[in-house]
């Protein structure tokens, strides 16, 4: 029962919170009201069976709690909200209606306002991520703290500070104007992308599994898709699906990490791949290229190859080059170099890779990729050195185990 309730909270949180925001424009109050409603639900539902429409139940109770809170706090703004509430709708605070449909409280524009506010670039990126997980995904502060390997107190402070800044700095609760939309949208997409990425990088010691974060990110991308289906939103949704489709093959039964080149491609989720490809096709037809579409296209090329060797590396290399033009980061350069090697240009690739060392000296995948190339170039001593560095930099156990195994294998091949 507890799990069922948690699932409902998470699924409904974004909608509920944004509809409460529609009434009071105060994130703290809205959140408190929802929190109270959730606590009441936990108590009541564990005794009885679930109501027919739990979302509507929560919404009605939360709205009632919100009105109580508005009445209690006598600030001018709240009194104004309370006044307009009365004219907005007749709210029966005494009973919970038995029948309630989704449309009654789903205000799509409100959710868009909420996500644009949470991902406002005037907030630091960590705060954007935390606020989004808290408000739109309904994760508890404790769960977010665990996922990001920080203490509950620190995470709670981060969220409180962010909410205070929204209030005090004049961050409006609105969908950005047309001329600001591209930049603001990219900030939203970045947050979703970061949530997804985190699901791969930090998966030690946490009860919230990495899969949860990945699924929340996919859910957010689908939400954006339903609210604002432009080319890059499609591109991001496609990228996440295409990438997540590989997850069943990424981990072996003994929980070891399996890199793309060694994955059993039959395990890939073909439904997710097809869905991802369809979204990518739709995006490309809009003819507005962007970084997420390019990355999705790269993922799609991996998805269509029957194995690592027959992958269209030349095409992938070209795609990374165009990604670099939009997003000139050393990590993109690394991928450029790696795809060059698999296109058959080993020596050129190695020179390219070598020149990137300074910028990527703290980046584990750089040394893992370099080791692979050194193996191909038969420089096993150098490969062992690179693997040792990669092991030191690795952030998670199963990846580290994989690198150690690879290094030990090389050590056994070296005569001394």
């Amino acid at each position: 029962m507890k799990n069922a309730i948690t699932r409902i909270f998470r699924a409904e949180s974004g909608q509920l919170l944004s509809s409460l925001m529609y009434l009071c424009r105060d994130l703290d109050l809205a959140e408190d009201a929802l929190q109270d409603a959730c606590e009441q639900a936990s108590m009541q539902w564990s005794k009885q069976t679930l109501p027919d429409n739990p979302g509507a139940w929560l919404h009605t109770v939360a709205k009632r709690k919100l009105i109580d809170k508005l009445r209690q706090s006598q600030t001018q703004a709240n009194l104004r909200s309370l006044h307009s509430l009365g004219t907005l709708s007749e709210i029966n605070t005494e009973s919970v209606p038995q029948e309630f449909s989704e449309q009654d409280f789903d205000v799509p524009d409100e959710r868009l306002r909420l996500i644009f506010t949470c991902c406002h670039p005037a907030l630091n990126q960590q705060a954007q991520v935390a606020l989004t997980l808290r408000t739109l995904c309904g994760l508890s502060v404790k769960e977010i703290a665990r996922a990001y390997l920080t203490s509950e107190i620190a995470m709670s402070q981060r969220i409180t500070r962010a909410k205070k800044k929204i209030k005090d700095a004049g961050i409006s609760y609105s969908v950005p104007r047309k001329e600001q939309l591209p930049a603001r949208l990219s900030s939203v997409l970045k947050v979703i992308y970061l949530i997804y990425n985190e699901s791969y990088s930090a998966f030690e010691s946490q009860t919230l599994t990495r899969n949860d974060l990945a699924e929340e990110a996919i859910r957010l991308s689908q939400l954006m898709l339903s609210l604002l289906p432009n080319a890059e939103v499609l591109g991001l949704a496609a990228l996440l699906l295409l990438h997540h489709a590989r997850s069943p093959a990424r981990q072996s039964s003994d929980a070891g990490y399996i890199p793309l080149e060694m994955q059993d491609r039959k395990l890939w989720n073909s439904a997710a791949l097809n869905q991802g490809r369809a979204l990518l096709d739709k995006a490309l037809r809009l003819n507005q290229p962007g970084p997420y579409q390019i990355q999705a296209a790269i993922s799609a090329l991996h998805a269509q190859a029957i194995d690592w060797q027959s992958t269209d590396w030349k095409q992938i290399h070209l795609l990374y080059k165009s990604l670099y033009k939009i997003n000139p980061s050393p990590v993109v350069e690394l991928n450029c170099a790696v795809s060059l090697a698999y296109s058959g240009y080993l020596v050129e690739s190695y020179k390219f890779l070598y020149s990137l060392e300074q910028e990527l000296q703290n980046y584990q995948p750089y040394y893992a990729a370099r080791a692979e190339l050194e193996i191909q170039l038969m420089d096993l001593q150098a490969a062992i050195g690179s693997l040792n560095t990669a092991i030191k930099l690795s952030r998670n156990n199963s990846e580290r185990d994989f690198l150690v195994k690879k290094r030990n294998h090389l050590l056994s091949q070296c005569p001394d």
Partner: protein, 113 residues
């Protein structure tokens, strides 16, 4: 809402000559004025003219120089009257020095009674 746009830059490191920069500021102010969002603003004399005062145990201590030595210095400010932060940021981005310096945008505090 009122916002103060604090314009920071490295003195003597403008990307165009002073005459051109002044012309660009004139254009900016005309645009901001006609949009009705400009509540005021000024350029400041260079940091070498700065004097700091602090009163300790009732005594005013006066020192030569700015409050903090930084790479970029406060060179001027505008007061904007805008609907929200987004609008203020949009105008801040139009300040000519924003393209090589930094504009810090802060809301003016309101004391509710």
């Amino acid at each position: 809402m009122q916002f103060l746009a604090l314009i920071y830059g490295t003195e003597g490191q403008d990307d165009v000559d002073m005459q051109t920069l002044i012309e660009q500021y004139t254009v900016f102010e005309a645009e901001a004025n006609s949009a009705g969002i400009l509540g005021g603003g000024n350029a400041l004399e260079p940091i070498s003219t700065a004097t700091s005062v602090r009163v300790r145990q009732g005594q005013a201590e006066i020192t030569d120089g700015p409050f903090a030595e930084t790479k970029e210095q406060l060179g001027g400010y505008y007061l904007f009257e805008c609907k929200d932060l987004d609008e203020a940021l949009m105008w801040a981005a139009k300040i000519p020095s924003a393209r090589y310096g930094t504009v810090e945008v802060r809301p003016i505090m309101i004391f509710e009674d």
